[in-house]
């Protein structure tokens, strides 16, 4: 029991006593004390007088002096009955459930329709700006764009100098060139946010619409005057990379451009499946429990294969591709070391409906190096910045050591980022409904492991680089909360941010081509925080 400091209960104890809020023993103790103590009895009376003042105030200044309700009170019985009637209407009889389903489907259609009708959630201009910034942050890499105009088709080598194209004998058909000129649209790299933004800026009166679906943004711009009637650009939501575009002329001519997927180059050290995206395949539901033996592979088999490959780390950079098609899970690899091949065979050969195939890497089928277009080389950090970095690290040797540790951590983080993104694309948010609880658990455990491992590497990068960035006046900010409904979306965002982080880090360390922009340290600090918050959000959703 609490001791009274002065030998008397304080005013708080007395008030609680008067209010009946003390426990039994304490109440008895206060009562006994009051019987014996004049001072406390007076204190009690003073308290009661103040309480009396409050009661009086309530009666005279509040009850009598406050305004009356402006209307008569409702008939509460009638209101409750109306509420009951509404609730009964809402609870539809079982026989009418089909009607409710039809109604729900109608509503869903209406919502989908509205999705296309309502004003763009994301402003086209802002999205194009972001896409341009993302393109600048990506390593400059030549790519091929297929352009179609009616029956004419042409493949443009983009991302290389015009002189290189000319040297390679690349000449766009005249009719196609003429269409680009009529549209005032740059034909050098038509499938780029920059080209679209430049055309859009020059277009007259126009209306934009941005639609997001299936991991893609489609920007559609309707023009009210000029040769073009409409143009569109489709961006991958994860990294804002353009994947398709179209220009529609008023005279029914059109130009379409799509990105040509390059054959994977296993020698580049990245996972084949990771770089080229996961092949889209029809949803195959989970294998029903206790269904065995099986003649056809299901999504459960695919998950089992992925989990098995993950156990030996074959999903972290090995050029191994897993596809579920025609009732089989195909595991294909190119250029794997014989030991690794044996390991994978041993792991999967006993698995029914799984086919393991390995091949030697084909000679590179990429864009032939154009004359005079030397491969970009890594630019060392600008001398002044390099000196500052070395100074902050404690000397040249320390900076070299720190750089290697950062590159190692970044490589490990990116391996996880690609693996996480692979899972997110293979099992998109809407596609996991066909999974059984056990399969969903396996998938989430795999994803969570990648997230945790990636977060640990990002933390290591922050730990090593944080003091250096702070020394450059760009401390790593705190995580800004990100909110995503699905872990897949958060994972894709984390991947996109990690790609930017990799590019910026490479620029800072002088291992990537390109000049170091003035705000590089601050950009890198912000991006690191972004990766961290995306990963935190991804994990939060996974753990729900």
């Amino acid at each position: 029991m609490t001791q009274w400091a002065s030998g008397h209960p304080d005013d708080g104890v007395l008030l609680r006593y008067l209010d009946g809020e003390l426990r039994g023993r304490e109440t008895r103790r206060v009562r006994a004390h009051l019987e014996a103590c004049w001072q406390c009895r007076c204190e009690r009376e003073a308290l009661e007088a103040t309480v009396g003042d409050c009661v009086e105030y309530r009666r005279k200044a509040m009850a009598a002096g406050m305004p009356e309700p402006p209307r008569p009170w409702i008939d509460i019985y009638a209101a409750m009955n109306r509420q009951d009637a509404r609730a009964e209407k809402a609870a539809i009889a079982p026989g009418w459930r089909w009607a409710a389903a039809v109604l729900a489907a109608g509503l869903a259609l209406a919502l989908v329709y509205r999705q296309f009708e309502r004003p763009p959630a994301v402003e086209a201009a802002a999205l194009l700006n972001r896409a341009e910034a993302a393109a600048e942050a990506r390593p400059a890499k030549p790519h091929r764009v297929r352009i179609r105009a009616g029956r004419q088709e042409f493949v443009r080598n983009s991302g290389v100098r015009p002189a290189s194209r000319a040297a390679a004998g690349e000449a766009m058909p005249a009719g196609m060139k003429n269409l680009f000129e009529r549209a005032h649209y740059d034909d050098a790299d038509p499938l780029s946010a920059r080209a679209y933004a430049e055309w859009r800026d020059g277009a007259g009166e126009k209306r934009d619409r941005v639609v997001e679906s299936a991991g893609l943004y489609e920007i559609r711009t309707v023009v009210f005057s000029g040769e073009l009637a409409e143009a569109s650009l489709t961006l991958r939501a994860a990294d804002l990379e353009p994947v398709a575009g179209r220009l529609q002329f008023r005279d029914d001519n059109s130009l379409e451009f799509t990105r040509v997927s390059e054959p994977p180059a296993p020698a580049d050290g990245f996972a084949v499946a990771s770089h080229e995206g996961v092949p889209v395949r029809p949803a195959v539901p989970s294998r029903p429990a206790a269904t065995s033996p099986r003649n056809s592979a299901s999504i459960s088999d695919e998950l089992e294969v992925l989990a098995a490959l993950h156990k030996i780390g074959a999903d972290l950079g090995d050029p191994v591709q897993v596809t579920l098609a025609d009732g089989r899970v195909a595991v294909e690899g190119a250029g794997l070391a014989p030991d690794r091949q044996r390991q994978i065979h041993a792991l999967l050969d006993a698995h029914p409906n799984v086919v393991v195939r390995f091949s030697e890497p084909a000679p590179s089928g990429g864009i032939p190096p154009a004359g005079g277009d030397a491969a970009p080389t890594a630019a060392p950090p600008a001398p002044r910045l390099e000196a500052r970095l070395e100074g902050l690290a404690g000397g040249h040797a320390q900076w070299e050591d720190l750089s290697s540790r950062l590159l190692d951590a970044n490589e490990a983080a990116m391996a996880r980022a690609y693996a996480l993104r692979g899972l997110a694309q293979r099992f998109p948010p809407g596609g996991t409904t066909a999974l059984s609880a056990a399969d969903r658990h396996t998938l989430q455990a795999l994803a969570a492991e990648h997230v945790n491992a990636m977060a640990a590497q990002v933390e290591a990068i922050e730990g090593s680089l944080g003091p250096v960035l702070a020394g450059l006046g760009a401390p790593i900010p705190k995580s800004t909360p990100a909110h995503f409904a699905a872990w897949q979306t958060a994972g894709e965002e984390a991947f996109a941010a990690a790609r930017r982080q990799e590019m910026l880090l490479s620029l800072l360390l002088g291992v990537a081509p390109g000049t170091q922009p003035a705000g590089l340290p601050a950009d890198l600090a912000r991006t690191l925080a972004e990766v961290r918050s995306d990963l935190e959000e991804c994990l939060r959703v996974l753990e729900q």
Partner: protein, 188 residues
Amino acid sequence: MSAYSIGNELVTILRSSRTASRLQTQVAQLFEESREDVFRYLLTLGLDPSSAQDAVQEVFLRLYAALKKGEGIASPRGWVFRVAHNYGLHLRARQANETRFDVEMEERLVAVGPNPERELLERERIERIHRGLDGLSEQQKRCLFLRMEGLRYPEIGAALGISASAVGEFLRRAVARLRKTDNGEGER
């Protein structure tokens, strides 16, 4: 459908209808007893009389819905004040750009009694308490108003999202401040 199952359904309907009727009586009784108190409390939160009246009605209908859903509500009056408090603050936040409703003391103290001298003294007393209340913190004031409405400490705590012991402390400070005002010890 068998006669047995029809009979069962009928019994269920009758039982549910009886339960609904009992609940309606219970809620209607509390509505009659407490609506003015809740209305007044909402005015102290700064709601205008029309919004406060709508809010009171809404709160009692919510109470009915909650009881009908089978929610165990130990103190319906405490529940009503808690929901009214939160709903009132929500409405206030939505009307943030509007002037907070307040009634001037002069308007409140109209014709307190027939004896002018006594009336004057009474008026001075109420004005003193009013000044004292004005000097209280928002939380002290809310604890005090809810206590005036007869709520127990845990009920006040539930309404304001604080512990019962914190309510005790706020009330202690509020009463101490009012006493100081009453004794003419100045208002901090």
